[in-house]
């Protein structure tokens, strides 16, 4: 359990010891494929990626519309921040300026979140004004927000309109009798409502919001605060339900309860879980769901690499004085990100090498179209992970409507394999082309512009569109594309040339 920060000492590092934070590599491999794709290089959710990327939260959302018994509203939202922290509230314009300044100085910056200091959706004007401006001026940044869920259904359309990447909802219960012990009141339809009625509304809104976000394809993470004796047993049920509804991650956090923080739970002596209790519950929920052991709660205005707080470099005054070339800054971010993604992709491919490739038999649906021989640049034959020029061998397949037949591998002359002298390049490339002469398609992760031209001239179409995809599905798609383009009713290009 993180040690609570005393009030007003805002400059402590919000570190997560890497390795404990986020998800382990193998967990991500088990996630549903489309979600995995979006999470695998995510600076917040991938243990691998978070070492490379940075994210920040801007404190534009001060107001809150509910009361949690573990929160003292003097301080930042307890769902998002360690207790006792007070953030300097920014206007939307200030938040935009700060974000652009940070993103110019730290090209790893890739996620901008709004998580408080109150509730992002209790401050809709400020939150969405920030998103609107940033989606214009830094469209490469992923946007995220965190909410208690009360106003979620009302704002799902706007969240989708700004392409918000992921939403975190704090859901502590689905039973209003339990909710009444956690939330004394909510502000709803211009009134304060209390007790069980309040919990009923909040729970209904959270669940509806979760469903609506999932229906729109927005990643949803659910956080829960474990409160021993109140919702600890119940959270297993919560985990099951939110998983069933499509949340990609359920993260159980411990109640942090200290009388010094002046929260209701702190004052009445409600204890937090022991590390063992927390771990036991997390394990039980994990059996139910891909649950990533997450890091300590991050400060709502944290800046910099996860685990490295650089807030002091970007105070309002300093930011105001900065001159920023936004366009150049975005260029640097995109270039860096491409390099990082390539590196991560390589690492992933190495992991995939361990699992043997099974080539499935495609459905014998289409009957038209002749078989096509395709070469694949892949280190293992499982995933298209190799640069054309770095391939030591190519896997050769014959793809038809009925099947994908592996014809073995073909050794490549490495055209740029690190020989000190690259004068040989032309010769080696020519040798490779000869070896591949009966293939019509070359699937590879990447390929240089020059060999691209030479392959095309030799009647082999280079295709880098399936980088990092499983070989079998990429082959099938490449074949399907040729079929759709009407290329499969005629003889192969090589025979035409002959």
């Amino acid at each position: 359990m993180p040690t609570p920060t005393p009030p007003n000492t805002a400059a402590k590092a919000s570190g997560c010891a890497s390795g404990r934070c986020g998800s382990s590599a193998s967990q991500i491999d088990e996630l549903d494929a489309s979600v995995a794709q979006r999470v695998q290089d995510h600076p917040c959710y991938s243990e691998e990626a978070h070492k490379y990327f940075a994210r920040m939260h801007v404190a534009v959302a001060p107001a809150c519309n509910i009361q949690c018994n573990y929160c003292n509203r003097k301080y930042d939202c307890s769902n998002e921040s360690r207790p006792g922290v007070v953030s300097e509230v920014l206007t939307a314009a200030q938040a935009v300026k700060k974000t652009l300044a940070v993103a110019a100085a730290i090209p790893q910056m890739s996620v901008l979140g709004i998580a408080g200091p109150g509730d992002a959706l209790a401050n809709p004007e400020r939150t969405f004004a920030t998103f609107a401006e940033l989606s214009q001026r830094a469209p490469d940044l992923k946007l995220c927000l965190s909410t208690n869920g009360l106003m979620l259904p009302q704002y799902v359309d706007q969240i989708a309109a700004y392409h918000v990447d992921h939403v975190t909802i704090t859901i502590n219960c689905i039973d209003p009798d339990i909710g009444a012990q956690i939330y004394p009141w909510i502000f709803w339809k211009h009134r304060r409502i209390t007790g069980r009625e309040a919990a009923e509304v909040l729970i209904a809104q959270q669940q509806q919001g979760l469903e609506m976000l999932v229906a729109r394809g927005i990643l949803v993470k659910v956080n829960s605060v474990m409160i021993p004796g109140i919702n600890d047993q119940h959270l297993k049920e919560v985990s099951r339900i939110v998983r069933a509804k499509g949340a990609f991650l359920h993260n159980v956090m411990p109640l942090i309860s200290d009388p010094a923080h002046g929260t209701h739970f702190g004052l009445i002596g409600q204890r937090g879980p022991t590390p063992q209790e927390l771990k036991t519950l997390q394990d039980e929920c994990a059996g139910d769901m891909n649950m990533m052991r997450h890091c300590q709660q991050c400060r709502a205005d944290a800046v910099g690499m996860l685990g490295e707080d650089r807030g002091a470099e970007f105070t309002l005054e300093k930011v105001e004085a900065m001159q920023i070339d936004e366009h150049a800054a975005m260029g640097r971010r995109l270039a860096l990100r491409a390099a990082i993604h390539a590196e991560l992709a390589e690492k992933r491919a190495a992991r995939h090498a361990a699992s043997a490739q099974v080539i499935e038999l495609p459905r014998p649906a289409a009957t038209l179209g002749r078989p096509v021989r395709m070469a694949v640049a892949s280190s293992t034959g499982a995933v298209i992970d190799t640069h054309f020029g770095h391939a030591k061998h190519f896997h050769i397949f014959e793809v038809s409507a009925e099947e994908i037949r592996a014809l073995g591998t073909c050794a490549a002359a490495q055209y740029c394999g690190g020989e000190a002298d690259c004068g040989e390049a032309d010769n080696t490339l020519a040798r490779t082309l000869t070896a591949l002469s009966d293939c019509e398609v070359m699937l590879c992760a990447r390929i240089g512009i020059e060999p691209w031209g030479k392959l095309e001239a030799a009647g082999i179409r280079p295709d880098g569109a399936h980088a990092m995809e499983p070989v079998a599905s990429a082959l099938r798609e490449a074949w399907k594309t040729m079929l759709d383009n009407g290329q499969l009713s005629v003889a192969p290009a090589s025979q035409r040339r002959a």
Binding site: P62, A63, C64, N65, Q67, N69, R73, K74, V89, G118, A122, N123, E125, Q181, P184, W185, F187, H190, R191, R192, T194, G195, H264, I268
Partner: protein
């Protein structure tokens, strides 16, 4: 006819955006209500909006000095049973 914010307000901003008359001002040591603007919401809502969302007991009072959220009214214990 106006409400007043007094010492004890924690400057949480919850009331500010809800006020139909933009009567609530960010200020130190605590937020303030502009008495010329505040109508106690009688023209707009069934209940004064600032008081309906304020999380702190006793910090919003009427002209007689009566708190709209009296002591104990917001604490969970007050509603047990």
């Amino acid at each position: 006819m106006a409400l007043e914010i007094v010492a004890g307000c924690v400057n949480c901003w919850a009331c500010v955006a809800l006020c139909p008359h933009q009567a609530i001002l960010e200020a130190q040591p605590h937020f303030l209500i502009d008495s010329d603007r505040c109508t106690e919401c009688i023209d707009a809502h069934a209940t004064p909006q600032c008081a309906a969302i304020c999380p702190i007991e006793g910090v919003i009072i009427d002209e007689l000095g009566t708190p709209l959220n009296p002591l104990g009214s917001l604490s969970p214990a007050a509603r047990d049973g």
